[in-house]
Each structure stands twice: as structure tokens, then as C-alpha cells.
Amino acid sequence: MGSLLRMNRLLSSIVDSCNCIIDPQLPADDLLMKYQYISDFFIALAYFSIPVELIYFVKKSAVFPYRWVLVQFGAFIVLCGATHLINLWTFNMHTRNVAIVMTTAKVLTALVSCITALMLVHIIPDLLSVKTRELFLKKKAAQLDREMGIIRTQEETGRHVRMLTHEIRSTLDRHTILKTTLVELGRTLALEECALWMPTRTGVELQLSYTLRHQNPVGLTVPIQLPVINQVFSTNRAVQISPNSPVAKLRPTGKYMPGEVVAVRVPLLHLSNFQINDWPELSTKRYALMVLMLPSDSARQWHVHELELVEVVADQVAVALSHAAILEESMRARDLLMEQNVALDLARREAEMAVRARNDFLAVMNHEMRTPMHAIIALSSLLQETDLTPEQRLMVETILKSSNLLATLINDVLDLSRLEDGSLQLDIVTFNLHALFGEVLNLIKPVASVKKLFVTLSLSADLPEYVIGDEQRLMQILLNIVGNAVKFSKEGSVSISAFAAKSDSLRDPRAPEFFAVASENHFYLRVQVKDTGIGINPQDIPNLFSKFTQSQALASTNSGGTGLGLAICKRFVNLMEGHIWIESEGLGKGSTAIFIIKLGIPGRSNESKLPFVAKLPANHMQMTFQGLKVLVMDDNGVSRMVTKGLLAHLGCDVTTVGSRDECLRVVTQEHKVVFMDVSMPGIDCYEVAVLIHERFGKRHGRPLIVALTGNTDRVTKENCMRVGMDGVILKPVSVDKMRSVLSELLEHGVVLE
């Protein structure tokens, strides 16, 4: 401002000075000239002010991008102003200098203005576009604002959904799920009413199950086939429906405008809908219907995001419901299983108790029954030996027969119960098969000859002589079968044939599940017992092997027997991995009993751990005794010599002593056995045994001591046992006896007689 004032003062002074110069000729031209002076002056003033103002304001604003343009403008304007100013001197006669200045000024002005004009061509469009950009940005800002609004709404919705889902899924109880859904939806969307219609069991109606406002739904039903319902069920979107449709008529109708209503389907999924490889297709036809009503008179409308919210919630509800259903089912299954477990446990315990009770009973009865039986049998046989009248003898014989039968029954029952238990195990030994058959034949021949029956035995050549199996039980089976054959035949013959079964003969048409496979170490023995007896009715054949059954014909002939024999045979045969059956063409036509069992073949398998109990000739046994050092103590020379000869014959290295002292002197750890004659009177041989014990201490080192005595009364035996002798043998001793004694001694370390 100060510069302006100075300028003004300068100009006024210049005007004053100019007034002095141009005074004389001023009549009419003076006015014009005056006005021109003033105009030029003001123009110059303006011209000089504008750049100042421009500079001042631009300095104030920081953002103006075209500073150099301003400079240009400023220059242009200043020069114009200067021109006009200098014009003031050119009205009158002026010096050459003034002219020059004027010219310079004009030239410069021209230059600058041209340049500026040229520049403006570029600048003005730019300036104009700034404006358009401004407009554009404003529009954009408005748009972004709108979008921001939408996103915020959506986020709100999302939050609501999450919260709803959380609420719904936080429980696995169906009712809570549904109730929560309705409550939360009502709150989020500010609904007037929210209702859920579930399909009834029959599937033809929808029943109002839950509502938001009315706490106890009245149990309204609508038929499921309504068009509006079909429309809703046919799509998974939320559908706007008329407020007048039956499902939406929940409020007391009034004069107001009911709010808009939207309905959405809620699929009710079952466990069976979830296939392993498929997604749960909505092949389920069961839907529930959710109806949502906006408040009346609110003029609110359903927005898209609200509809989306409803759809999402409906899906979540479906999932939650299906989870709840699955959980319910699995809980039910678990409860059922627990019940079954408890029941099974109880049954098992009861069964165990029953088995234990049975076993205890059997054990007790076994002993209790056998003891008196023994007494009866023993005393009856003793009685038989005494003098009896014929009637008495007959009576005693009957008693004996009956008690033998009873004893057999007891044994059978015990055997059978042990067989059924599975607690019976076969005693596997190596035995002579041919000899076994021979024994059976010998046992049955007397009975058969009394009945005038011919018994024949034929063993095929390919049967091995020695086999591995349960000798006793095989004997039992054979005796039973052959015994039956003899028992039930009044005349004719009984033929026993045995051979090693080939694979085709192993198949019994009646037992197709029985497959016998012979191997390196085993073979299958097939035995056939054919008789010409009373035969069996074909109807009875299936029951033959059941316990305690006896057909009419059998019972009437009073054949005796327990009815358990065949059942036991079958069990034994099964234990031997075999099969047994009976064929008969009918009553009076005889019958054939056939069984196949598995037996081992010795020698091929390395069963060295089994005790080899075959009766081999003597020279085999001698090898085990070869060089066995033994000591014989006997005061009788002859007896001593005989015993020595006996032991020497068996291969032992025998030392003999004749007295106690000699014995104690001679005996060493090398002597494995000391045979001591304890019938020497007056000499306490037992002391020798005690001293030997003391000397040699531990069991395995010391010689075994066996007493030879002429009398095996109780006193002698007790004395021997008292001093810790390992055996007592009755003189005279046979070679076989001595052999078996020695082998028993060496095997078990003790001889019991």
C-alpha cells in the first residue's frame, strides 16, 4: 500500500508538472487532452497495480502451478503500463530521448504481448481442464460416498449374520436353535413377526411350530400343496409373498397396512442325505418354511441385503438342525449300545457263573460220586471171591454190573462236559497202530464169540506201524463203535477195516464242508466198521450223535449204555480234526460206522520233544545205559551176583559191595544209582542212605538210591521214603522190570511203585 501511495504522489506530481508544461493552448483541445492524460494515467495505474495484486495473491496461495506465466503476464502488463505512461510525455513536443524510450518500451511490450498471446493458446485449455477435473472429482467423491454407504450396510449385515450364526450354532438343541434364530432375526431386521412352519409327520401339512411374538403357537396347520408354498419351496432364494397368504396371516387384521412379507425355505437334512462322495444334494423333499414380516405401517421395504441375510440364515439353520439331528441319532445309538453292553455283560457274567458252578459241581460230584462207586465196585468184587450161594452170586454179579455201568456213566458225563468245555486236550503220544487194533480185537472177541459173531480185522498195507496221536481216546472210539456193532447184532459178522485215506475218499457227501488235506507229517486214517445187525431207521440217523437219544428199537432191547457213547466219539473225532458218520439202509439191514481222523507220522517231523514210549527191543535201550556207573550193596553173595549180572546185561558198569561200611567207602559222585538191599536184618541200611544224602548234598549231584527188598509192606516203604530214597523195588527183579526202572530213574529221578 505504501508503494501505491508513493506511486500516486509521483503521478500527481508528474501531472502537476505536466500541467505546467502544457498550459498555453488549452481551450477545447485542453479538455480532450486532459481526459486523455487522466485516462492514460489511470490505465498506467491499473496496469501497474494488477501485477502487484497478482503477485501478492499468488504469494499468498501456495498451489498456483503457473508461476512463470504470471511473470510473463506481469512483464506484459508492466510494459503496457510503461508504454502508456511514457505516452504522457509524447503529447507535446518531446526530446529525442523520450522518443527512444517510448520506442524501446513499445518494442518490448510488443514482444512480450506476442509471446504471451502465444502462450495463452497453450495455457487456457489447461486452465479450463482444471475445472473439468474438479467437476469430475466431485462426482467421483459423491459416488464413493454412496459406495461406502453400501459397504457399511453390508458389513453390518455380515456382522448380524455372524452373530446370528454364532447364536444358532452355539447350541445343539433343536428348539434352542430355532427359537434363537427367530429372536435374532427379529432383532436384526426389526421384524414385527417371524414364524417357522414345520412339516408334519405325514408330510401333507405344515404346522406352525415357532413364532416370535406369540409364545404358544396355537398349532395352526396349512396344507403343504398351496401354490405360494410351492413357489417358495422351489427356489433357495427368499421370496416375497403376499401378506394375505395363509402362512402370513398371523396378526389380527386391522385397518392398517400390513408390512411386506418374505418367506424362505429351510431344508431339513437327514444323515442319509450325506453320501460319502456327493455333496448333500437336496434330494430331501422336506422343507420347513420361515416367514418374516416387516412392521405394519412402516413403509419399509425389503432390501436386497436383508433378503440375502435371510437366505444365509436359512442355510445356517438347516445345517444347525441337521447337526442337531445327527447328534440326537448318535446319542440314541450310544444309549442303545450302552444298554446292550450292560445286558451282554450281565449275560456273560451269568454264563461264567453258570460254568463255574457247573465245574464246581462236577468237580465235587466227580470225587463224591467216584469214592462210593469205588467202594461198591471193590467190595462187590471182593464179595464175588468169597463163597456164595448161586442166588447170592447172581445178586452180587448184578450189583457189580450195575455199578460198573454207573461208573462208566459218571466218566462219560465228565468226559463229555470237559469236551464241551473245550478243556479236554488230547494226549499225543507215539504208539503202535497195528497193536492197538489187535488189542481192540482181543477185547471184543470174547463177547463176540459168546454171541457167535465173526469179527474180522483188515489193515491195509499202507498204514504206518507207528503213529502219533491220542492212543487212549482212539481206543475208546474204536471200542465204542465196535462195541455198538457187536451189541446191536444178534448174528452174522462184524468187519473192521482200516486204511490210509486218499483225498477222494476223504470227502463225505454228507459233510461237504469237511476238507481233509494230507501233508508231509500227517495222514488220515479211515476206519470202517460194518455189521449185520438190526440197522438204523434213516430218520434216526441225524440224531445218532446227539446226547442221550436212543431210538425206540434200541431202548426196547434193554441194551444198556448211556446214550453218550456216540456223542463222545464224535467229540473225540472232531478234536482229532476228523469226521464220523453212520450209514444204514434201514431197519434189519445192518449198519456201517465210518470215521476219519488225523494222525501224525513219526520220524518225518522233528518231534523230538515228545517222549518216545514205543516198546523197542532191548538192545536199543541198552545204549542209554551203556557205561552207567552203578553200585550194588547186598550182603547175600548169590543175590549180589544176580543183581550184578542183571545190571551188566543192561550195559551198566557195576560195582558190588557187601557191607555198609564198604558201601560208604566205595561210593563216589560218579555212581549214578546205588541199589541197596534193605532186607538185611540187623543192619540199618537206611542210615547209609542218610549218610549218602549228607555227603553229596544237592539233588543233581548225588547218586540216586533205590531199595531192593523182598517185602513191600507199608513199614518198609515208609522207612525208605523217610530217608529220602528215590525208589523201592520188589525182589526178584526181572530184566524188563529193571530196564523200565532204570529208564524211569534216569528220566524222572524217581521210581514209584
Binding site: S639, M641, V642, S679
Partner: protein, 151 residues
Amino acid sequence: MEVGQLQRSFIEYMSSLFNEGFLDAQFSQLQQLQDESNPDFVVEVVSLFFEDSERLLNDLTMALDQPNVDFKQVDAHVHQLKGSSSSVGAQRVKNCCVPFRSVCEEKNTEACLRCLQQIKQEYLLVKNKLQTLFELEQQIVAAGGAIPMMQ
């Protein structure tokens, strides 16, 4: 005589000894013990038996001759005799020892003497028989045959 006949007579004789009770199963056991390592076992044992028995019988005679009979001693002798005879299989001799022992316990000298007499008799009989048997054996062996074994 030729071998077969000798062998037949041997068997007959042996059977008669068994049947008449002079010998029992123990004697057969002795025969079984005779093998290549012990070819004269039976003869040796029987000889020893003869020696033993004669000694015992002498001792018994002397003991019973005493004015104060030592029955314990007598009993001991009889026990020995019983043992020997049973080891050899001289059945009848052994059987005589049994009553001998009971009368010894009764301290009945008379009865003892009677028993002694009986034992002596039986002993002589069986000695005779056995010696005959051995002679037969030797004849068979001399004739080149084998001694038949009794079943």
C-alpha cells in the same frame, strides 16, 4: 546121541523142573542174562549158590546143635538162604525157608530141626537136578549144538 535128540531131552528136562516147581521164573531171568559178554553166567551163579547154601546149612546145623540155640543167628542164616534161593530161582528151597523163619521166632528147636531137615532134602534135590541139567548142556555143546532157550 545126536544133537537134536539131546536138545529135545534138554527141553523136556527143563520143562519138568519148572512144572514140578523146582525152578521158577527167576531161573529163566538168569538164563536171559546170559549173553556173549557173560557166557557162563548161570553156571557161575548156581555154583555160588551151591557154595553159599552148603556153608549156610552147615552153620545152621552147628547153631541148632548148641545147647543154647542162638535163634537170632539161626534166623539170620535162614534169611540168607532164603535170599540166595530166591535169587537163583530154587523155588522149593525158598518155600521151605518161610515156615523155618516162623518157627525160629517161636524159638522152637524141634520144629527148627525138622525144617532144617526138609531144607537139606530140597537143596540136595535141586542141586542134583541142576547138575544134571548142566551136564546135558555140556553134552549138547560138545556135540556141536546150541543150547535151546526156553520161552
